[in-house]
């Protein structure tokens, strides 16, 4: 189904075998320092327990990952000063002391025993403070993680006019919280695991028990468990590693930075995968139609949303086919162009040096360059680029006689329509495959285009996302799911969840619908 990353066993500085913590504190500290290569952000603090000089305690943490005040107040403060009178003149048993500290002294919510050095490193590097007691063969990790984060800000890539503006941020916990706040259901379950030999990235799988399909959940876990890779820096890594089919330009996993759209997906029975360090959350199974839907569709009125969706399908086709249709019509099927238009197109072409196909290729390529440059450039220069672009592909190229004015219209039409698609990854795939379509059109005209379309549709139909056919509910046709594909029927008519990944299909109580019906009937009477 998908390929596993081969891990290389050698060149691993930290030994694979877990070693238990030594009873000797100095030895431990030495080992940690040695293993971390004397890294400058490692802070080691040894101190004596409240006036008991015979008991040495070592505190290790990574500077910047922990909450400094918490360390000072709840760890150092508790151990060094508050216990002043507790141990006076008592012979202290080390094990007793360890338990005592863990259970009665540390005023910190999360304290865990260490299982060995690997565990120690995992905690240390995740931002826990490590407490080691001399002559005791165990240590504890105190969870006082805190680091700088961006906080919850407005969405940057999936904007809406109406609807919540908040977006996920880079912290996993914040992200799960944003969803949890929307769905206060005990059945909303989160399973966390770490992936990445080196990065140990936290991955959380979230779903609503009983709504999501058990098989999909199992499949998600199976695929995640199979991943062996050294680093996960973004959810894109996970996406590529767990998708069904590798050789396809189309995304088969949905991603979103909007908590409301993830919550909606969970409620439909999908499974969300959160990855620490990125605001983009993955969601499976993902269908083709999903990439043409915006969460705003559900916040606007049904009729408006339906019209907008139809518009999106049309623009999708346009961004795919307009240049190739132009090529096919002007170089193969001139009989289809009305005579006056043909004359004006022909007169435009009199002076242009390149064949229509090359002309289209140049222009589309120029547009892609401008688009990419527009994203990468600093914001200050961005507007300059758009001016240059407008001049280059608009006025000047036509004035210089390099391209015909009609081609400018074609290219700009393609460009604008490709930006209508809500999901960037779908828009870019469509933009990519329009080049082969142009080639087909230049070789065979409309026959080439229709051949390409057949191939494309068959390819789309052969895809599946976690066992769900990608083109559902069109192919296979699912009658019940048509309500939320091209159409978006009013909320009071959306009674069932999508049928393809359902467990519990009823979405609304039937009475709710009756209520609405009655209400509308009453309205009818009044008018």
């Amino acid at each position: 189904m998908f390929k596993l990353k081969n891990k290389s066993p050698d060149n691993k500085p930290i030994s694979q075998q877990d070693h238990p913590v030594y009873p000797d504190l100095q030895k431990n500290i030495h080992k940690v320092k040695h293993d971390l290569g004397e890294s400058s952000d490692l802070v080691v603090r040894t101190f004596h327990l409240a006036g008991q000089t015979q008991i040495t305690i070592g505190l290790l943490y990574i500077d910047g990952l922990i909450d400094q005040t918490a360390v000072q107040e709840f760890v150092l403060g508790s151990l060094m000063t508050k216990l002043q009178n507790t141990f006076k003149d008592k012979k202290i048993n080390k094990q007793h002391l360890y338990d005592f500290i863990k259970e009665s002294v540390l005023t910190i919510s999360s304290v865990k025993d260490l299982q060995g050095f690997n565990d120690l490193y995992a905690h240390l590097l995740s931002g826990d403070a490590i407490l080691l007691i001399d002559e005791h063969p165990n240590g504890m990790a105190a969870g006082i993680r805190a680091w700088e984060d961006r906080g919850v800000t407005e969405t940057s890539s999936q904007n809406v006019i109406r609807g919540p503006k908040e977006a996920f941020s880079e912290t996993l916990r914040t992200n799960t919280t944003l969803v949890r706040r929307r769905i206060k259901d005990p059945n909303l379950w989160i399973k966390t695991q770490q992936i990445g030999e080196r990065t140990k990235t936290d991955i959380a799988v979230m779903y609503i028990k009983g709504v999501a399909d058990e098989n999909v959940i199992k499949e998600v876990h199976r695929r995640l468990d199979n991943i062996e890779i050294d680093a996960i820096l973004e959810s894109g890594y996970i996406e590529e590693l767990i998708q069904d089919k590798t050789l396809t330009p189309f995304p088969t996993i949905f991603n979103s930075e909007r908590p409301d759209s993830i919550a909606a997906g969970l409620l439909e029975g999908r499974v969300a995968i959160f990855v620490d360090g990125t605001p983009f959350v993955l969601m499976v199974p993902a269908l083709f139609v999903q990439f043409l839907q915006s969460s705003e569709d559900y916040y606007q009125r049904a009729d408006i949303s339906t019209l907008l969706r139809i518009l999106r399908y049309i623009t999708l086709l346009m961004s795919l086919l307009v240049p190739s249709m132009y090529i096919a019509l002007t170089t193969f099927h001139q009989e289809m162009i009305p005579t006056p238009l043909l004359i004006s197109l022909a007169s435009q072409r009199e002076a242009t040096p390149f064949p229509a196909f090359i002309e289209a290729l140049i222009m589309e390529f120029t547009f892609e360059i401008l688009r990419e440059a527009g994203i990468r450039l600093p914001k200050a220069i961005g507007s300059a680029i758009s001016i240059v672009g407008a001049l280059v592909i608009g006025e000047s190229a036509v004035q210089a006689g390099l391209i015909s004015p009609a081609m400018v219209i074609v290219v700009s039409l393609t460009a604008i329509s490709s930006f209508v698609t809500p999901a960037f990854n779908m828009a870019i795939s469509i933009r990519m495959i329009r080049f082969p379509f142009m080639l087909l059109a230049a070789s065979f005209g409309l026959y080439g285009i229709i051949g390409g379309l057949i191939l494309l549709v068959m390819h789309l139909c052969s895809l599946s996302s976690f066992g769900v056919p990608y083109m559902a509910p069109f192919g296979p046709h699912v009658k019940q799911d048509q309500k939320d594909a091209i159409l978006r029927v009013p909320q009071w008519k959306m009674i069932t969840r999508p049928h393809l990944f359902k467990r519990e299909t009823e979405r609304q109580d039937q009475t709710n619908r009756h209520h609405s019906k009655m209400r509308s009937q009453r309205k009818g009477e009044r008018t």
């Binding site: 193969f332 009989e335 022909a346 007169s347 072409r349 229509a356 230049a442 070789s443 065979f444």
Partner: protein
Amino acid sequence: MKAKQLVAILLFCAPLLSGCWDKVELNELGIVNAIAIDKANNGDYLITVQLLSPSEIASQYPSNRVTAITYQATGKTILEAIRKLSTSVSRRLYFAHLRIFIFGETMAQEGIRKSLDFFYRDHELRTDFYLLVAKHSTGANILHILTPLEKIPANKIYGSLKYSQDNWAPTRTVTIDDLLDCILTPGKEPVLTGIEIEGNPRLGKTTENIERMQIPAVLKLTDLAVFKRDRLIGWLNESESKGYNKITNHVAQTVEYVNCREGKATFEISNLQTKIKSKIVHNKPMMDIHVSGAADIDDMECKLDLNNFKNVYMLEDRLNKKLKTMLVTTVKGTQERLNSDIFGFGDILYHHHPHYWRQVEPRWDETFPETKVQVTVDIQVRRLGTIIESFQ
């Protein structure tokens, strides 16, 4: 494995994509807008094509160069002549935007059937162009006349043909489908609209024709050319042409006047509907033509009290009588003068009385002139215009 397969398929496709055999760039096309076929002196076909010059037509800065160019070639067959044109035209002739197709008069008299095959067989030609016959002229001469209002001469003909059929009625738009249908169907003969040059043809060929306000040569659509099988045998006059169109139910609107005391009253007739029924009386075919429609008074020259509905009835009656005479003379004239079943009486017989038709078909040429025709006209005057009584 998958990747290998893809590479293989791409390799397969590579030779396929290398050629684009049918590709023609727009600037390689010579868009043929009109074509004329004449007989050359030695009996060959003489083909005249009118090509458009797109840059002149669409240009925003008009020069005084002409917008269309004609080329000529002769050949033993149509296709040979067309291909011969390539020696003088620098572009590939493209026929899909053909608008007008003109037969020279002598050509039409000798038969048009043989020359039509190519134009229906070739895939590039569409079926939406109109066919015409040059009256007292060759087709080539017609195409040489420059037209002032339209940049493209053929569009002038195309436009006036359409407009005239809709609003005046002596002309007829005939496509190749209609023509072939008439030629192929027994008991139905074709007609084509005629076109002639009025004025000085020599001046009409020069740019002087588009520089003067009163132009020296005008292209004018005239009457209908009547064919027998595929040969031109005569012409209908204007009134007969109008009558013909009314009988074959091809008139949407027309104008007709009647005399009243010292002036004339003109009607605009609309919703003309003609039904032809056939009967067999004493083993002789009899056609029953029924025309119905509505008329509005548009122009009233005589003093007549239209408040009195009897006067309106009187006018209505005169109108009906006039139309009836017109139709009857049309049919009579055709039967006696031309003996060509352009009305499709034979076809109507075939549809209504197939057995009888089979008997008469061999001697239809003799039977047609003797076919009795009964005409009833039932046109009602509806509206009188914005004023009732004339101010005469």
